[in-house]
Structures are given as structure tokens and as C-alpha cells.
């Protein structure tokens, strides 16, 4: 599922990132912030009072997302979050590989 659809406080890991959906510079900054395939991720907060109110009535609007990526909290807009596919199943082989 997409990160934008992930329920808050549900641990997941990054399955795939559509790097073509963002600029090279943004992609590089996201990787520098630890967001890469295999990283553990958890949606913590979605910003926006209006979005929150509308969500009570089933209308989905998306503001900025605050996510835990590894041990860091990273804020990104919904457009970037929508480029991240996450998986809540068992964690895949860690990208870092064995020691």
C-alpha cells in the first residue's frame, strides 16, 4: 500500500519508492534522511485541521506527513509520501545485509 494510506502508528517497512515521481534533488534528500527501500517506517501524524475535520466525514484530503524513518522523524508532503509503497508484513531482508 502507499504510505499515504498507512494507518497511523502501524509499523511497516519501505517496499518500493517511485524515484521518478520526484526531482533528483528531493530524492537524494529523502535518501539522506534515511528513506530507502527496506527502511522501517511508521506514519505518526498528518497535518491540517481542515483535513482532519473532513476525514471525520469520510472526505480524504492530504496534508504534510510526519513519519518515523529508522530512528528519525521526517516530515514530507503527501506528494512525496504517495511515491512510497510500504508493506506491513514481515520485514524483508535488511538492505544493509549481514554483518
Amino acid at each position: 500500500m502507499l504510505l499515504t494510506a498507512l494507518a497511523p502508528n502501524k509499523p511497516a517497512y519501505v517496499d518500493r519508492i517511485d524515484w521518478a515521481a520526484m526531482s533528483d534533488a528531493d530524492g537524494k534528500r529523502l535518501r539522506e534522511l534515511g528513506l530507502c527501500e527496506g527502511a522501517s517506517i511508521e506514519l505518526l501524524h498528518r497535518a491540517g485541521l481542515l483535513n482532519w475535520l473532513l476525514s471525520r466525514f469520510g472526505v480524504t484530503r492530504r496534508g504534510a506527513h510526519a513519519c518515523r524513518v529508522g530512528r528519525m522523524i521526517v516530515a514530507m508532503r503527501a506528494a512525496h509520501a504517495a511515491a512510497v509503497t510500504v508493506n506491513t508484513g514481515p520485514v524483508a531482508e535488511d538492505e544493509a545485509g549481514p554483518d
Partner: protein
Amino acid sequence: MDHSGLIALVGNPNAGKSALFNALTGARQKVGNYPGVTVERKAGRLALSDGRHVDIVDLPGTYSLDPKSPDETVTRNVVFGYQEGERQPDMLVIVVDAANLDNHLRFALELIALGRPSVVALNMVDLATRDGLELDAERLSHDLGVPVIPTVAVRRRGLDHLRDAIEAAVPAHSAQRPVFVPHAERSEAELRREAQRIARRAIVSETPSRRLTGAIDKVVLHPVSGPILLLALLFVIFQAVFSWSAAPVEMIEGLFAALQSGVEATLPKGFLRDLIVQGVINGVGSVVVFLPQILILFFFILMLEATGYMTRAAFLMDGLMAKVGLSGRAFIPLLSSFACAIPGIMATRTISDPKDRLTTILIAPLMTCSARLPVYALIIAAFIPDRLVWGGIGLQGLVLFCLYLAGIVGALIAAVVLRLTVTRGSQGSFLMELPKYQMPLLRDVMLGLWQRAWIFLRRAGTIIFVTTIILWVLLSFPKPPQGSGQSIVEYSAAGRIASVLEPVLRPVGFNHEIALALIPAMAAREVAVSALATANAVEEGDDEDKTAQTLGERLQGRWSLPTALAFLAWFVFAPQCLSTIAVTRRETNSWRWPAFMTGYLFVLAWLAAGATYWTAISAGL
């Protein structure tokens, strides 16, 4: 004194570099700018136990040697030896956050690969422990191949060991090195994988999350309680700016009044005395009097930054900012602009997207800075009745609030229009780390305040000092022929310039004395008040409140209500501050944008004043 070299403190944002820099150098710091850019250069000196002294420079935080914003470019350039006005560092102190090891090690590996003498400061180990992380510094040092010293900069822990490690690593003699030519050795992915491997080996034990930060964020970032808390904080800050500053402002006013009396008692009547009293003391004093308000606002801004809240405010505001084509990051410079547009414009250097940054710079002067307050206070007190409306709200306070609001709304509308026209381009992004919460160290906050106070006072002593002298001369010369009965000010060079401006300003309800007041107010908005006082030939006493009252009463008799309201509307938009124009020139590295900014703000000011005047006239006011 033997200067043995230059050490650069380098690392990711939020690694605690500045706290470590403050702990190592104490108050022995010099704050300036790198030539050609407004990126702050913070340098200090460290005494080593072998008698050597080394200079330390605190570089802006960055994630890699591939920069994304102007301040990150400075870090890259200094490390490589490209930066004008800076020696190439002899060694690097690489600061990493112990709780974010895998992320910060990636950049550390990139720096270590440069082959310079390096020491890693494993900072904030106390917070890592608080978050359930136990690390093996020796293992880390072995894997990185450089000394690793655990530190807690804010508690001054590990500093002696760090100093010893620096002493052992820094070359005995500062050598001239060739400029570094970077070459790609390892890919980004390789570095990341190695960082993760090394971090995993260094972690003895860990629990999964940051409990304290998570608990606070549940309230601070909540879509309902978050904005309420932010609004409440802003309310408290602005209340404090005005209520806490009353006593120190009075003290500064008293100090300048005493200085004025002292000079009057010492010097004989004449040109020199008038120049010092009316020009220098009055002019510089009218600006220095805002120091308390500026410091109070900066105190809150520094506290919010040090606790980690400021980035949360940016997160909460990103939705609104995105609607006008800006990034949530723009909120921080715009908030600073309520104190003064100059630090606000300087703070835009952290915005990576050039169009976002330029738009933020161009709208920063629309935030109501403290220099507008004396103008607002004078006109509101004179023309707006002191009565309650709508069940107990003071009308005067309400008008003041509306003027602040008009500035904010004007800025948001201007941002939309600019983003659709001159700063058109793809929507910038908002990617930001939200650091963990920390208890701010009062000493560091006070040091930051002192540095800002010094920058402000230095400006008052240079630019404003010279400008006020020039204005005083323009207002005082040439003198009218004796017995002609003409006003000195009307006859002066400034009076004649006002006559040229008057035809442009008359349609929006401004008279000759307003035209005259607007000329000196070009230097700084608050000068309009003292210029009006001079133009009205009011005998200025030692008490400025009394002067303002007298001036207000006189203005009531000479101006209509529509003219007064138009004057207020003018100051919501007018770009009347030479320092702001100068810093915009330096920040954008061209005259094109400050010229554009001045032009569009003058047009806005004229239209706003006109719309106010014409509406008030047609409403029969």
C-alpha cells in the same frame, strides 16, 4: 600567540554542533558573514594544553557534500577549501547524533574519506541512552579508523577528552594545502550500506522508539491541539514583546534623554550641538529604543529553535504555506520578520528551493516589524477613539490588530501573485527532519541573544548613524532668509524634495508635511514620527511620550480622519527601510530584486492608502 591551525566543526543538522561549538569556545566567538553571502560565519578559539591555540569554525549543518541550499554550499566550499575568506581547515571535528547513528555516519564516512585529520564527536549520548540506545564508542572508532569521543555538549561532558583528541590529531603546523578536487569514490548507496553496517555493530542494545518525543508530539502535532497550541504560543510571544518591553524601553529613553541634556549643558548653542542632539542622539536613540522588543522576540525564537519546536511549527504551517506557493520552512523567517525583516531575510538561507526562497524574501517586509509600531501608536492614539466595542474589545487595540492582520493577508496574497508571475516555477518541496525535543541551555540562548544585540547595535552605530546625520542636514539647510517668516523645514532641501513628491501623494490624501515625513522615513520607518515632530515645529522635550502626545494633538487639528487612516494603510506596505533593501541586495546578489521589491511595495502602499482614503471619504468620515 601561536596559531596552529583551523578546525572545522561539521555534521548533520540537529547533531548538536552549535552547542558543542559554544561549549568549546565559550563567549570567545566572532560572528560575521562569509563574503558575498549572508550565511553566518561563527568562529572561536580553543586553547590546547600544549600551549597552542587553534581557531574553530562552526559550519552550517548539511547531509552530504552535495549541497541543496546556500548555507550547505558554504559547508561544502569550506571543507574543500573553495570558500572565499576562509582558510582550508587543518582538521575536521565531525559531530554525529548518537541516537541517529546510521544516518549521520553516512555523511561522516564521506568526510573521513577526504583523508583529513578527523575526530568524531559522538554527541548527545545522554539522549541516546534516554531513548534506549547503548553504544560502543571503541568499536565505532575501530570501524571508522578515527578517534570517537562520546560527548554531551550541553552538559559539557566529554569535552576534555575531545580536546585531547583534537590536540593529538591537529597538525603541529598549519600547512598550505592544494584546493581539494573531489572525485566519486563510493556511491551513495554503498556509503549508506556501510553506515548502516557500522552503526549496527556499534549498537550494544536498543529499544525501538523515542518515547518522550513521541508523547510530546502526540499533542504538538495533533491536527486539532497542534494549531491551537501554536496560536496560543504566538499570542503569548506578541503579548510579551509589547508588555515586557515597556520598562526597558523607558530606561533606554531615559538614558538618551539624559545624554541629550548632558550634551546640551556641556556644548554651547550652535551647529555642533544641534547636530549631536537633534541628529545623532535623537536619530540613533529612536532606533536603539526597539532593542528590548527585538531581543524579546529573538529570545522566544531561539528558545523555540533550541527545544526542537520550530520545525514542528513549520510542519503545522506547511498546508497554509503550500496554498500560497511556499514551503512550511518559510514560516520561520516570516515569524522572525515580525521583529525585523533583516534577520527574517537572512533566515531564508535554509530554504533550498530558489524560487521559494526569493518569494519569501520579497514578502518578508510585509510582516509588521517593530519599527512600524511608533507610527501606528502615534496615529491610533490621535485619531481612533479610546472606547470599547463589541462587548469589551478596545477599539484602538482592534485597529492595531487589523493592521498586523492586513500585513499578513497582504503577504499571503503577494506570495500567490509572485508565484504566478515573477517567481513562477514548480512548487517547492517540504522535506525536513523533526529533531528530538531538548531542554534548551539558557547560556547558549543568552549567547545567541548577545550576538544579535551586538549586530543590531553595530547597525545602529553605522548605517543609521550616518543616515540620520544626512537627514538632519537635509532638514536644516539651506536656512530661510532672516525675517522671511518661512519654516526652516519647508525651506530646507528636504522641504523642496517634498514639494516634488506632493503631486504624486496628494490623490491618496497626503499633504505636504506627510510627503516631507516620508523622505527621512526612507531610512527607517520609525523616523517618520520624529520627522513629523520637526515638521510640526514641536518643541521636543526630554519626555518622548509627551512629545508624541503634543504631536498627536496637533495632527488631529491638521489632518482629516481619512488622511490619518490612509497614512496607516501606507505603512502596512511601504518598503521604507534602507537596511532591508541592502540585505535583500546582498542575499539575492543583484540590484534587480531589491529594486523590484521596493517598486511593488510602493505601488501596493499607494494603492492601499488610496483605497483607504477614497473609501473613508465616500463613507463620509
